[in-house]
């Protein structure tokens, strides 16, 4: 069945977020609303102040940790729940633990909102699963042909050998990654045989929340009492905001690394002034985006955040009905630049 062109679209963008009018529900709203379906726990998608939250059950403890006591109900992947005759269901997005795409079905028409997603199975989040739909609302954080990710295994091998190399020179390795998602992905594949793994408070707190869902190596929280000598040669996981802070002085002598998709650009690495950049992203690369869109079988694409205009123009050239929409999602840039709620914890 083709998309109804004459009527108001099933999902539209208003000042509060992505709105499903027949259901009276918002998806990842950026202003406080009554009922919000949340794709994942990053701050630009799960905001404070909604009356009622609906999200994947794994994401429940994550947003509770971030937002405190909220009214939230958890759903399984594939479980259908109906609001005012509109059928909703969540499907894995592979972005971080507990991340979902939202499928919305009404009168035979199907829309999918991707949230943030990646196609590579990171062996931590439930892998991304394309969902057939008529219209697909997609992010395109890395929507340029310049982005091509290497397999995670290869990047993690590089990270572990970098750690080993630093250790042989008597230095610690400080690796920056966002405290929710990237930090745990790194942690899961660090090789504890090399040495001890230390964490910044913000990362340790989030990791504690996630330990029931995955098997992580042992970590040591860095506190005021942690001895400088104890850290030496170890791996320290820290949020990007810790770079250049006083907190980091305890790690001297150390080398710094950052894991992010942006590290694909030499300029970005130099701007961050880190010693090593590791190209590792929780978003799709160019081919990942194109393959995912194709797999949905959709005819209409709406690009929310990233290189939206360029990506859209390309989609139009290859035959999609694509347009852009203004949102307040920020993707991996936000994950690198802003502080999460508890990264000010200097302990």
């Amino acid at each position: 069945m083709p998309l109804r062109k004459e009527k108001k679209p099933l999902l539209c963008f208003d000042q509060n977020g992505i709105y499903c009018e027949p259901a009276g529900v918002y998806l990842d709203p950026w202003k406080p609303v009554d009922k919000a379906i949340i794709t994942h726990g990053h701050a630009d998608h799960s905001r404070w102040g909604h009356k009622q939250y609906i999200t994947h059950h794994t994401n429940v403890p994550i947003i509770k940790h971030r937002l405190g006591e909220i009214e939230v109900s958890g759903k399984e992947y594939g479980e259908t729940f109906t609001i005012n005759n509109v059928k909703f269901s969540l499907f894995p997005a592979g972005h971080i633990i507990g991340s979902s795409q939202v499928r919305v079905e009404h009168k035979g028409e199907v829309w999918v909102f991707s949230g943030d997603y990646k196609t590579e199975d990171d062996k931590l989040a439930v892998p991304f699963e394309p969902v057939k739909c008529h219209a697909f609302i997609t992010e395109c954080t890395f929507g340029l042909p310049a982005f091509k990710w290497l397999p995670q295994e290869q990047v993690m091998n590089d990270i572990n050998s970098w750690w080993q190399q630093n250790q042989s020179e008597g230095k610690s390795s400080v690796l920056f990654g966002y405290s929710l998602g990237k930090a745990q992905r790194l942690l899961k594949f660090l090789d504890p045989a090399i040495g001890k793994i230390f964490t910044h408070g913000a990362i340790e707190n989030m990791t504690e929340v996630l330990r029931p869902f995955a098997d992580f190596p042992e970590t040591i929280r860095i506190t005021r009492e942690t001895k400088k000598e104890e850290i030496r040669g170890g791996m320290v996981l820290a949020p990007p905001s810790a770079h250049g802070s006083t907190w980091i002085r305890k790690m001297v002598p150390f080398e710094t690394g950052m894991a992010s998709g942006w590290m694909a650009f030499r300029g970005a690495r130099r701007r961050r002034a880190v010693d090593r950049g590791f190209v590792l992203s929780d978003h799709c690369d160019w081919q990942g985006l194109l393959a995912s869109i194709k797999a949905t079988g959709c005819e209409r694409v709406i690009c929310t955040h990233g290189y939206t205009e360029i990506f859209c123009r390309f989609l139009n050239e290859i035959g999609y009905d694509a347009r852009t929409a203004e949102t307040q999602y920020e993707g991996e840039l936000a994950e690198m630049n802003s502080k999460s709620d508890d990264e000010n914890d200097d302990q």
Binding site: P145, A146, R269, R271
Partner: protein
Amino acid sequence: MEEFAALIRELDSTNKTTVKVAALTRYFQRVPDKDKVWAIAILSHRRPPRPVNTTLLRTFAAELAKIPLWLFEESYHIVGDLAETIALVIPPAEESSEKSLTQYLEEIIDLKSATEAEKKEYLHENWAALNYYERFVFTKLITGSFRIGVSQKLMTRALSKATDIDEDVLAYKLMGDWDPQKITFQKLILEENEEDFLSKPYPFYLAYAIEDEPKDLGNPADWSAEHKWDGIRSQVVIRNREIFVWSRGEELVTDKYPEFSAFLEVIPDGTVIDGEILPFPGGDIGTFNDLQTRIGRKTVSKALLNKVPVILKAYDVLEWEGKDIRTLPYLERRKILEKLHATVATEDLPFHLSETISFSNWEEATVERERAREVKSEGLMLKRWDSPYLVGRKKGDWWKWKVEPLTVDAVLTYAMRGHGRRSNLFTDYTFALWKDDELVTFAKAYSGLTDAEFRQVDAWIKRNTLERFGPVRSVKPELVFEIAFEGIAESNRHKSGVATRFPRILRWRQDKTIEEANTIEELKQLIPK
């Protein structure tokens, strides 16, 4: 090539000088001599001429990546570096290349005379066969400079460690014109060969800007002061009845300034003079703008020679009677220079002395510095009377003490993405001043804000774009910046009617609205009469 790519990668992935020197030293100890010569040539900006223009490079790369050309262009604007963009968009190769750095460079030199179809075939074949980083380095060899924070000084230090030859001696050997294709490592670095030195200038001694008050330099009697001229720093070498004029960029510019051939008749062999080439239209020092008309020309017309003749404002002598006298105290070298000048100077000879200024206390020097714009200088140079002529930028004996810059408040009107570490950020700005109700462009500036400020302005630009013209965006006139510049002159080539020298951002005036920005008229009032 594998090793050179690995070297560039290592240099590129650290900000620490010691690590860079160590990597370079290891490289120089490890690779064959021929590759060493090429590595030295590349790191001292002696690349072969570009064999393929960038338009063709883009087209070939987009074809191989199977993407439309516009998409390649957009990616390039965001990545901010052509070679890097090419390396990123082409699908990765599995193996790494067997060819040596020398072999690649020889092929690149031969490529210049190839047909377009041959160029395409060569590039496609090599891009596809190289892994990401080798492909980046290979393309860089074709397109231009490596911005990897390796100065010639740093490279020379590493070469010195690898060869046990003194750094200053190496710096001298590497000066001037040598062809990496013809010269051997033995001849360039290891051999002592007097003949080769015939045309060579000495490494320039460069001053740092003074940090504190000049009175912290101590006793004024220990210091010489002269005006800091705004021309082209040059050495004039006269040996064996030949004259060679070198610019500070180690470019041989003898043919561009035929005026100086007159020196051969009066200045003896075995003389090297350090000074400034200055424009001298109508028998008076001109502006840097005047000099611009001479800089670009390989051959100079008689008309231009008459309109904008040049002079050498001499301030030092480095070789005299065939002897290197750089270790003599400045005072002694000045005596030789002044005596030479007194003997040979005539009204027609373009040989002027940069006069030293007598002062008995720092206040008097300060007063003289204030006259800088009046005499068309940038401020003062302070040199210790007992200082030798050192190599490169060294602290201690020579200081530049510039006048405070001129400033205006201007409105940000256009922005472009930067390059290198500023790629993907809008950091290259165009500024405008009021002319009646209109904002008229007067200068471009790229520096002066902190990284944090650039990020803030970048975010503002993305939200306040009016129009896009390829990489350039016009923005809502709203932000005001204080722009500083060293000099100012009338100009027909600029829409504003004014050319500024070294414009840069002094500060972001968040306290000012665009109505409070200056006018073109106010700018013109700063032009010295």
